[in-house]
Amino acid sequence: MVNRAFQRSLPWLFPIAVLALWQLSSQAGWLSTRVLPEPWAVLKAFWALTVSGEIWQHVATSTWRAALGFAIGGGLGLLLGLLTGTFRPAEMLLDSSLQMIRNIPALALIPLVILWFGIDESAKLFLVALGVFFPIYLNTFHGIRSVDKGLIEMARSYRLSGWQLYTQVILPGAVASILVGVRFSLGLTWVLLIVAETISAQAGIGYMTMNAREFLQTDVVLVGILLYALLGKLADLLAKGLERWWLRWHPGYQEVAAA
């Protein structure tokens, strides 16, 4: 029992030690508050922002942007991936162009995006959607193409065709690959959003952080950074939950669920 408790606490040991050292060095005056505020101050700032309700407004705005950008980019990626994965002519027509666009870093487009969309919501959504599009597109395409040909042949010999074949054999066969794309994209969403929100914004975690920097409120800057980490982790947990549900037939995921 003791051994098990020790094993469980093991992953926490290192971060707690770092936090303790950090707190100590701040109190001893080795670390200037301008460089890094003490953990206790960050916690207090977080509490103050929570009580005033300010933080919820920013979190809600950022989450909405992330969700909408992800839905637009991911939805288009899924749709086009299904299209090019299923129909050879669509692949011939679109794939090489998409591969070319994929190699442009989304953030390199910021000047153009500002010219096109100005600095309001649509610019931020465009950046997030563009970045999220490709991982989902590529993994959907790959997932559809790598469905076991033997299973498709079997299903055809059992008189399955068209929509039935697609929903019962091809799509479930591609789900594992699509979900890899989803998890990858969710990570990217927050990275892109941080940058997009620093362009110019009236609300959002990025705005809160940039604003705090102007007033040298390093504790609030840290709260913002931690919020991104927390929301990113939450999104990943959501994706993992989807994996467990959709891939519950898969022995590789059943073990994870049991552990």
Partner: protein, 288 residues
């Protein structure tokens, strides 16, 4: 070639068990006629004028060395591939019109890993009572208590029994078995032989088994057909009473057929063994 001509000249003698006639739950077997089948892959001749005639309800086994074209013949009969030349009929009509009467049991069970056992059986089954019929078919192969499990947890023998239930629930009139027991251990194979024979006697479908195991062919089939040099080279009736037990009579059949298979010149056999199987390679496989 005397064996070929004599086999074609003799009328089909089918040793039917007495239990077959009464109360068939199936729709009976289909008569299958294949004449002058030609098929080649990328310029390589696989079948060259093969003829095969199967009486309704007959159990045929096709044997031959690997790469001889026996699986190709099955795929042509199944309609998975089209002939270069020749004609295949079911009950006198083009077999493309009878696709719903034909079911295949593949070497690798080809179960959908994301569907539970019961839903795998109900695949492509129309009607409101699909689940009920699927449950019945599962009971027939002794898997009724596994209905709600994932295929991944089944053993090799159970997976093939599930595949058999999935084929039988459609009450096929022609069941094609493509080396379905090749990957099973000896004991499971014997169990499967008994199960297949019992269900065949009960449902009365026409059965065609492709195998490289001569003793399996003798244990199950009314007639054993050998494919050699791209055509039918031997057609041997197995006049043993059912249910069959291993004994001197079956051993004599096995020996005679094996001897005939091994008559082929050594060099030819090696050359064919080196050639890849005519089946298309499968893509990425699920790790189940």
């Amino acid at each position: 070639m005397t064996s070929l001509s004599s086999a074609l000249a003799t009328p089909f003698v089918v040793a039917k068990a007495p239990t077959r006639a009464a109360g068939l739950p199936g729709r009976g077997g289909a008569a299958v006629h294949a004449r002058g089948l030609f098929k080649s892959y990328a310029g390589r001749q696989v079948l060259h004028g093969a003829d095969l005639h199967i009486a309704p309800g007959e159990f045929i086994a096709i044997v031959g060395r690997s790469g001889c074209g026996k699986s190709t013949l099955l795929r042509l009969l199944a309609g998975l591939e089209s002939v270069d030349a020749g004609l295949i009929t079911l009950d006198g009509e083009a077999h493309s019109q009878h696709q719903s009467d034909i079911r295949i049991m593949f070497q690798d069970a080809r179960l959908l890993p994301w569907k539970r056992v019961l839903d795998n059986v109900a695949l492509g089954l129309p009607g409101r009572d699909a689940k009920e019929r699927a449950r019945e078919a599962l009971a027939q192969v002794g898997l009724a208590d596994r209905a709600n499990e994932w295929p991944a947890v089944l053993s090799g023998g159970q997976r093939q029994r599930l595949a058999l239930a999935r084929a039988l629930v459609h009450t096929p009139r022609l069941l094609l078995l493509d080396e379905p027991l090749g990957a099973l251990d000896a004991l499971t194979r014997i169990e499967m032989h008994r199960l297949i024979e019992r269900l065949w006697l009960r449902h009365g479908f026409t059965a065609l088994l492709v195998t490289h195991d001569v003793s399996e062919a003798v244990a199950l089939a009314d007639r054993v057909v050998l494919i050699e040099e791209h055509r039918i080279a031997l057609d041997e009736c197995v006049a043993l009473v059912r249910p069959r037990a291993r004994g001197p009579a079956s051993a004599a059949y096995e020996e005679r057929i094996l001897e005939r298979v091994l008559q082929q010149p050594e060099g030819y056999a090696q050359a064919t063994a080196l050639l890849p199987e005519p089946r298309p390679a499968h893509g990425l496989r699920w790790a189940v």
